[in-house]
């Protein structure tokens, strides 16, 4: 089975092939050249004991809310986006049809809306603060990612929002 991986902090895509060798053994080829044989035992939903050339690793593989994986090895964290090569092709076709970029400003953290600094129809500049959100005694500003017009505001002051919620939708200017 072939996959395509994007890893936070690593440039470019990596191709990863997985071949089962029977039992717990798998051959994994990264980018056609780095060849690993791993002995993989799964514990519970997402803890793996991995042996590679006699070295033992405890690896946690957790699905992240945004669809990628959070992988923890010996205290080092990796954010890995991994997609089946076939599905990736399907996605890229779909992506083109649906049109990219929605101008949505979302929040990665849950919090309480302290202030909304713009109104619908406002012309905004890149990096202009739009909404201030508070969580755990700390205030965070959400800024316009580009110049544009405020199409709609999805929150009001005092609202509590979940992670990944849309705060403001912008109509980017050409």
């Amino acid at each position: 089975m072939a996959y395509v991986a994007n890893i936070a902090g690593v440039d470019g895509e990596l191709k990863v092939e997985v071949k089962p060798l029977g039992g717990d053994l798998y051959q994994v080829v990264i980018d056609g050249e780095r060849d690993l044989v791993v002995d993989v035992r799964r514990h519970g939903c997402c803890v793996y004991s991995v042996l590679n050339q006699g070295r033992s690793y405890e690896v946690d593989v957790d699905e992240r809310p945004d669809g990628g994986y959070s992988v923890l090895v010996q205290g080092e964290h990796y954010h890995i986006d991994l997609v089946d090569e076939m599905k990736k092709k399907l996605l890229s076709i779909l992506g083109e049809e649906m049109g990219a970029g929605t101008g949505e400003v979302t929040t990665a953290m849950p919090g309480k809306v302290v202030r909304v600094l713009v109104s619908e129809g406002d012309q905004v500049k890149k990096d202009q603060p739009l909404v201030i959100l508070e969580a755990m005694k700390m205030e965070n500003e959400f800024k316009a990612p580009c110049d544009g017009v405020v199409k709609s505001i999805k929150v009001k002051e005092g609202d509590t929002v979940e992670a990944n919620a849309v705060l403001v939708v912008l109509e980017p200017s050409e």
Partner: protein, 503 residues
């Protein structure tokens, strides 16, 4: 001794205080807000009562309600922990009026040390070295004139300051007007007091503080220093004892200076006198924390003294049972604060559900924690969820052990500062003891950006095998909903959501 003590706090520090009560045979009472019904401190206490809605000012800061609970439950004392009501003189006064003992310093000392300028005056009177600057609040014009006279850079600070709020480093006169405006506005909203004063900026400062214990008769001892220079947003994240800079002679001078300040302020209870230290090991009085500190366990591990129990005994009127010559620092201790924050995204808060937790153990390891598997970390309160405190026979063993314990420490579902601590414990400058309060924002960040990942191939291979297994067995019910394979359509929907800020 007290019969029943109310703990007016939550999370790890509430559990820490409840543990002391249990050891001393004191019945303990917890209080909780609406979002904390399932919290650990509620389960640990002998009794627990609700005090109101989630926002702190309606629950953990609600003096009337907490006093009402204490009286109804028949408590003879209240321990405020740190944060919330710990340095609130009005609360200390209310406890006194109601005939309940406030386990902390006298209210007068909370008031005087709460004002940074009064604290500076007190320290000067006590003969402790004070950072050059003003002893009174200043007008805008006064700040301008004084800063010119002192010479830049200067520190502009809020008189009622704390936690890094209302504080600005000003490097030149051009920056001053806007710095004054911002500092006043921040101080006004944080402390309802916009008065400011000036201090000379100490280059490459290190934060070294002295733990003291003073009984009601004014007999005091110092328990040695803590080095707290590893900070983010002017807040400590790693503390250790002893400091690599402090020898026995310096310790004695700092300890005696700290006790003189406490005496001048009429202080009793456990307390901390904070100092800044320059690169020539000159120390200057910074402020007094009139409460139990987050980092008190490092001192407990090197001295063997239970600071919380001593604090309770002092509040109950007992004379100090430890003499200065009996206080010995043995070995080295390091504390790592575990915050629900994303260290890879500017320490952004990360509240949510802890759906997996593995705690470290083994020799020399202490974990003070306020969460458990499936616990919810609410967004309303401080992001601290626990502390890892490690003891070793010397600094080197303490660092190696901390590194080992961190590798065992797994928190899932929310982001934490654990990976950050792991990196610091491998940083060559930290290992040398060569750092100051600017460490994280300057050298550490640069060194981390240049670092190569070590286990990339193993991580990638395991993730790929994981996905392969999921795809090969799509019908198998995963033990948790999270392990399930996802359809490309769902994935696609998520991708769309991910396109945040793409224009």
């Amino acid at each position: 001794m007290f019969k029943k003590v109310l703990v007016a706090n939550r999370s790890e520090i509430a559990v820490r205080l409840l543990r002391a009560c249990r050891e001393m045979g004191i019945t303990s009472v917890a209080v909780y807000s609406d979002v904390d019904r399932d919290a650990l401190h509620v389960r640990y206490a002998d009794e627990a009562y609700p005090i109101g809605p989630a926002p702190a000012r309606e629950s953990y800061l609600n003096i009337d309600r907490i006093i009402e609970v204490a009286k109804k439950a028949g408590c003879d004392a209240i321990h405020p922990g740190y944060g919330f009501l710990a340095e609130n003189a009005e609360f200390a006064a209310r406890c006194e009026e109601e005939g309940i003992v406030f386990i902390g310093p006298p209210k007068e000392a909370i008031v005087s040390m709460g004002s940074k300028t009064v604290a500076r005056q007190t320290a000067q009177k006590a003969g402790a070295p004070v950072i050059p600057g003003t002893l009174e609040p200043l007008t805008d014009e006064g700040i301008m004139a004084k800063a010119r006279e002192m010479g830049y850079p200067v520190m502009l600070k809020a008189v009622s300051g704390g936690g890094g709020k209302g504080m600005r480093l000003v490097k030149s006169e051009e920056e001053m007007a806007s710095a004054i405006r911002m500092a006043r506005s921040e101080a006004k909203s944080a402390f309802n007091d916009d008065s400011l004063y000036l201090e000379k900026y100490i280059e490459n400062p290190r934060h070294v503080e002295m733990q003291i214990l003073v009984d009601r008769d004014g007999n005091g001892i110092y328990l040695g220093e803590r080095e707290c220079s590893i900070q983010r947003r002017h807040q400590k994240v790693i503390e250790e004892a002893p400091s690599v800079l402090v020898d026995e002679d310096l310790r004695q001078r700092m300890g005696e200076a700290a006790l003189k300040v406490a005496r001048e302020a009429g202080y009793y209870s456990a307390g901390t006198v904070e100092f800044l230290m320059d690169k020539d090991r000159n120390f200057y009085f910074l402020e007094v924390n009139t409460r139990l500190q987050v980092e008190h366990p490092v001192t407990e591990l090197v001295t063997g003294i239970d600071i919380v129990k001593e604090m309770i005994k002092i509040a109950a009127g007992a004379p100090l049972s430890i003499a200065q010559e009996d206080v010995k620092m043995k070995g080295h201790a390091i504390e790592c604060r575990i915050y629900a924050e994303d260290p890879y995204n500017n320490f952004l808060p990360s509240p949510g559900t802890v759906w997996g937790l593995r705690l470290p153990g083994g020799p020399g390891v202490r974990v003070d924690i306020g969460v458990f598997e499936r616990a919810v970390v609410p967004m309303e309160y401080d992001p601290i969820i626990g502390k890892l405190i490690v003891w070793g026979k010397d600094r080197r063993e303490a660092v190696e052990r901390t590194r080992r314990a961190l590798s065992e420490f797994v928190v899932k579902g929310i982001k934490t500062t654990i990976p950050f601590h792991e990196r610091v414990m491998e940083n060559p400058l930290f290992l040398e003891g060569n750092f100051d309060t600017t460490f994280i924002d300057t050298v550490f960040r640069k060194m981390e950006e240049a670092r190569e990942p070590r286990y990339l191939d193993v991580a990638l291979a395991t993730a790929a095998v994981h996905l392969y297994l999921e795809e090969m067995a799509p019908k198998r019910e995963a033990p948790a909903a999270r392990g399930r394979a996802i359809s490309p359509w769902k994935l696609y929907g998520r991708r769309l959501q991910m396109r945040t800020g793409l224009c």
